[in-house]
């Protein structure tokens, strides 16, 4: 199992440490900007796309998680498990603070 965690913040580092203690897998991390390239090169089997709000090049606030999810979902075959995680239980997100839910969402 090779898990890619996509996040622009420090949170993914903590999440990676916690997941590393819970499951046996190779964990790689990427920013949202480099996510598609990392996916194509590293060929992970599982992906967590952490929701993220940030500033675009033209100074507008934008939600990066959804765009990243869409791009990777477009490129990934059915054998890859992709889950969006965030701080909202709505919109098909897995609640980030419930680590068991995150693990369950990865079907581990």
């Amino acid at each position: 199992m090779k898990l890619l965690i996509i996040d622009d913040g420090i949170f993914s580092t903590g999440l990676a440490l916690v997941l590393n203690q819970s499951i046996e897998c190779d964990i790689i991390m990427s920013s949202h900007k480099d996510a598609l390239e990392t996916f194509l090169l590293e060929e992970p089997t599982h992906i967590l796309v952490c929701e993220s709000w940030g500033e675009t090049a033209d100074g507008k606030t934008a939600e990066f998680g959804g765009i990243t999810f869409e791009d990777i979902n477009n490129s990934a075959g059915a054998e890859v498990t992709i889950r969006r995680v965030g701080f909202d239980k709505e919109n098909d997100l897995v609640y980030l603070f419930e680590i068991e839910d995150v693990l369950a969402s990865l079907q581990i």
Binding site: E37, L40, N74
Partner: protein, 136 residues
């Protein structure tokens, strides 16, 4: 090493067909649904993209109408970056064959093969593109 193919297509149903064929033939795929996204991907993945298959009529940017022949811009950008490119369109649906004529003229101008599938045949486009990639 697997080829990375950029597909530029705005219709979800066609994206799904293209994805199945491209992944099914052992390639990797990136999908753009508008010209701005396609150009952004070409810049970001320049040097890593093996080839491009583009539709002709799709929006300039997400959410706009698909009236413009923006695929011609993708072909020109591909030529500029020296990336093999094929066109997968449906001339019959658009009621005219002017796209084939434009691409034929471009081919002569740059002495580079730009295959056109006028019947929206993704497999045909992939096979023709793969031949060009293998030669290069």
């Amino acid at each position: 090493m697997k080829n990375i193919i950029l597909v530029v297509e705005d219709k979800k149903s066609e994206q799904m067909i293209a994805k199945e064929i491209i992944l099914g033939n052992g390639n990797k795929i990136i999908i753009a649904d508008a010209l701005d996204k396609a150009e952004s991907f070409i810049e970001q993945f320049s040097g890593k993209l093996s080839g491009i298959i583009t539709d002709i009529h799709f929006p300039l940017t997400d959410g706009r109408s698909a009236d413009e022949a923006n695929g011609v811009s993708v072909v020109l950008t591909a030529l500029t970056h020296n990336i093999p490119c094929a066109v997968c369109t449906d001339d019959v649906a658009h009621g005219k064959q002017y796209i084939s004529l434009i691409v034929e003229r471009l081919e002569k101008l740059v002495s580079q093969n730009i295959p056109v599938s006028s019947s929206k045949d993704w497999l045909e486009s992939l096979q023709q593109l793969t031949k060009i990639i293998e030669v290069e």
